[in-house]
Amino acid sequence: MSDSAREQAAQTPEIAAEPGWLKDKWARFLDSDIYYSFKRSPVTIVAFTLVVLLMLGALVGPWIAPQNPHDPAQLNLMDGFTAPFAENQFTGNFYLLGTDDQGRDLFSAILYGLRISLIVGIVSVLFAGVLGVTLGLVAGFFGGWIDTLIMRIADIQLTFPSILIAMLIYGVARGLVPVDMRDEAAIYILIVSIGLSEWVQFARTVRGATLVEREKEYVQAARLIGLGRGPIMLRHVLPNVMGPVLVIATIGLALAIIAEATLSFLGVGAPPTQPSLGTLIRIGQDFLFSGEWWIILFPSMTLLVLALSVNLLGDWLRDVLNPKLR
């Protein structure tokens, strides 16, 4: 940033402070290790572009989808099994990627399904992250019986496959919800069950990092000046253990998306009238032998590309943020 720009910013702070600050950050970002590494990895660039495209598709889905596949009244059964890039033999309607057995436009269904996958994925990772980081921080910082309690629970949970735990939580939660609210509640139940099944990774990582950090001099210094435990944990230790959390969160996002798809594939996730990607794959699976390949192919490809791209991003982030691997 040039001197004149800095002067300008100082003169008219209300207007220029914001862009100037942004510009500054941007310049720093372009100069950073992360961007350097990003620039030099074509795989990461492709993965990043794909994730952005898919997220964009999910975001603007309701405005660009020709049909709302979650509104059964909009479906015309006679449009069922329309092949992609072709007209329906009875109604003459055209659907870009074809339709499923209920006459649901697959292109629209994929956009809406992506929304469910991403919302469930992101929110459940946030949920797992907040829970896992808090518990990990508390366990690592306080030690003693709190540590033992939290980490033994984590160990026990780790002995079960996380999908099993998600199913268990899903079953219990579903039983608790009144029948007429199940459809609306399904997505929240998914978030809670996937979130609760994935917090352990966060907690273990953060606890380990906290154990290291709490012995460091800056923490002792903070203690000496009389700061309480809370502020020390939040203002000093937490920022220093967040690096690995970011990596786990990215990889966790891919896992959560797959977990959601798996639950829906097994028929216990998103309701059949509001299909997510996993539900669409489950529907398509019934038509594997009968020639309607598009019903399973397009949703599976979308899920594959999404999960793979997020995973690649996570791997790259881990490499960048972990100097020991370089």
């Binding site: 059964p72 006679m78 069922g80 009875f90 057995d101 006459g103 459809d183 059949p272 009238t273 032998f289």
Partner: protein, 531 residues
């Protein structure tokens, strides 16, 4: 299965290692059989449900049964006829029959079994509502005393299985399993019948193995070529077909409609098709003043016949037939298969699909803005059950009814109907007696301790109830048929149920198997032969 195995191998089809292992020498013929769902219980009187009876029929036997064409043939009774007193039927029992455990089959077992099937927790009691008493005359003669003459009594006995009195009493299973309250008893997991096959092992929903009964009375009378049956429920349609295509199973009872062509074209496999004695329909809670699953406060929209008619009109049956069923169904206007006494073409006509007229009816009933409700649907019982429900959800949406779909396996779905915990549900009904009375007794009569156990509609019409009860003892068949027609007219007028279609059966099997489709979807494997 030696022969099938040879065919499968020569056709270059992959055969699982397990299949190879089972091909032991001698004339051991293993039939590997799959269908979407499992039997719900081994207790032969606890569930009146097709797949449950199918498994029971291999191990237990009724006094008389329907053969593969649906004709009544002798089983544990050799002859039966009304006596001079028209309210008494006399049955001569087969002599020299033993249960799998070695106990002799006698008149005492018949009296015991029928009394057990009449108990409140039995699901078969509606079939015996005309039976006042069963009397032992001598060891091999039994009298059925009915409340008034019942000329059709034998029709009701084709699924009433005979248990051994001693075995059942010793094992404390005199009361049939109480399904509604989650009960269990010894007979739920163990069997002791007189049938052609004996239970070897069973893991519910996974695998049941049966073995030929070496002391079966029917040797020489039936082919009995199958010596071992391995029954594997496979819920996923694709997996089930894959199992048949790869030779992992020999016989599947429900080839998904989308895969008929694929199975038929494959070398070494064939599909046998026939209309089934089963109608698929929707039930509505028409009886309660308010229902919990809707968003209408203080009123029950289904109680209004105009809403029911509107819903009936909104169901696009030809579209369901064409797209969901791929032409493998017969659209229905009445909840009675065409095989049944009382069926007429007129009753079976259904209203034209007319959204505008349906919307007008909804508005007339005061539900112009629609309402929301939950539909309960099985997902492993009928052909494309969940897909039909989804299609109907869309059709209801077009007249403003916002339907949330709750699709569950049948083991969880059916209790909802029995316990009145659903207000809108799918059900299929086959009629083993081939007579309308069976439908009325289970589905139309007010729910009491004796009758109406499947009346999930909460429909209650005292006038109809007395007409229904009168059918059991009406000897004048012409008069009886007139009453049946009157009852149907009222049921149709009140639109108690919303019929969808009659099912068509598609059995898929290895080419070497000779087995005709049984109209009740009840394969009796003792009839199966192989080339």
């Amino acid at each position: 299965m030696n022969k099938t195995l040879a065919i499968a191998l020569s056709a270059g089809v992959a055969v699982s290692a397990w299949g190879l292992a089972s091909a032991s020498p001698a004339e051991a013929e293993t039939l590997r059989w799959a269908r979407a769902g499992d039997s719900l219980t081994l207790d032969p009187h606890a569930q009146n449900e097709g797949p449950t009876h199918t498994l029971a029929h291999q191990m237990y036997e009724p006094l008389l049964q329907r053969d593969m064409e649906g004709k009544i043939i002798p089983a544990l009774a050799t002859s039966w006829a009304p006596t001079e007193d028209p309210t008494v039927w006399r049955f001569q029992l087969r002599e020299g029959v033993t249960f799998h455990g070695g106990e002799a089959f006698t008149a005492d077992d018949v009296v015991f079994s029928i009394n057990r099937a009449k108990k409140p927790t039995s699901a078969m009691k509606e079939l015996l509502n005309s039976v006042a008493e069963v009397k032992k005359v001598d060891d091999y003669t039994v009298d059925f005393v009915t409340n008034g003459p019942n000329p059709l009594l034998p029709n009701n006995l084709t699924n009433l299985f005979m248990m051994d009195e001693g075995w059942t009493t010793e094992n404390d299973a005199v009361e049939p399993q109480d399904i509604a309250n989650g009960g269990e008893n010894y007979a739920v997991r163990n069997t002791n019948g007189t049938g052609a096959y004996m239970l070897v092992s069973r893991t519910p929903d996974e695998r049941t193995v049966l073995q030929a009964n070496p002391n079966y009375w029917g040797k020489g009378e039936f082919p009995l070529e199958v010596t071992e049956i391995v029954y594997t429920p496979i819920q996923s349609a694709a997996t089930r077909v894959a199992a048949l295509l790869s030779g992992e199973v020999d016989f599947i009872q429900d080839v998904p409609v989308q895969d008929l062509g694929r199975v038929d074209q494959q070398d070494g496999l064939k599909v046998v098709t026939a209309p089934q004695n089963r109608v698929i329909f929707f039930g509505l809670n028409v009886g309660d003043d308010d229902i919990p699953s809707d968003n209408v406060e203080g009123a029950n929209p289904f109680a209004d016949v105009r809403v029911r008619r509107a819903m009936n009109m909104a169901i696009n049956r030809p579209a369901i037939k064409q797209v969901v069923m791929r032409d493998q169904s017969i659209p229905a206007g009445v909840i009675m298969p065409p095989f049944v006494n009382g069926w007429t073409e007129e009753l079976d006509t259904y209203p034209a699909h007319d959204i505008e007229a349906a919307k007008a009816l909804m508005a007339e009933a005061g539900y112009g803005d629609g309402f929301s409700v939950t539909l309960n649907c099985p997902n492993d019982r009928y052909i494309n059950d969940e897909a039909i429900c989804q299609a109907v959800v869309g059709m209801m949406g077009q007249i403003g009814i916002d339907v949330a779909l709750d699709a569950l396996p049948k083991a969880q779905h059916f209790p909802l109907i029995n316990k009145w915990e659903t207000d809108f549900y799918m059900l299929g009904w086959g009629v083993p007696t081939f007579d309308s009375e069976y439908i009325f007794n289970f589905l139309v009569h007010t729910k009491t301790d004796e009758l109406g156990s499947w009346n999930g509609a909460r429909y209650s019409n005292p006038e109809l109830d007395s007409k229904i009860v009168s059918l059991a003892s009406e000897t004048n068949l012409e008069k009886r048929n007139a009453t049946i027609a009157e009852i149907w007219a009222q049921v149709q007028e009140d639109q108690v149920y919303l019929p969808v279609h009659h099912q068509v059966l598609n059995w898929g099997m290895q080419d070497g198997i000779n087995f005709d489709v049984q109209p009740e979807d009840q394969p009796h494997f003792k009839f199966l032969t192989m080339n």
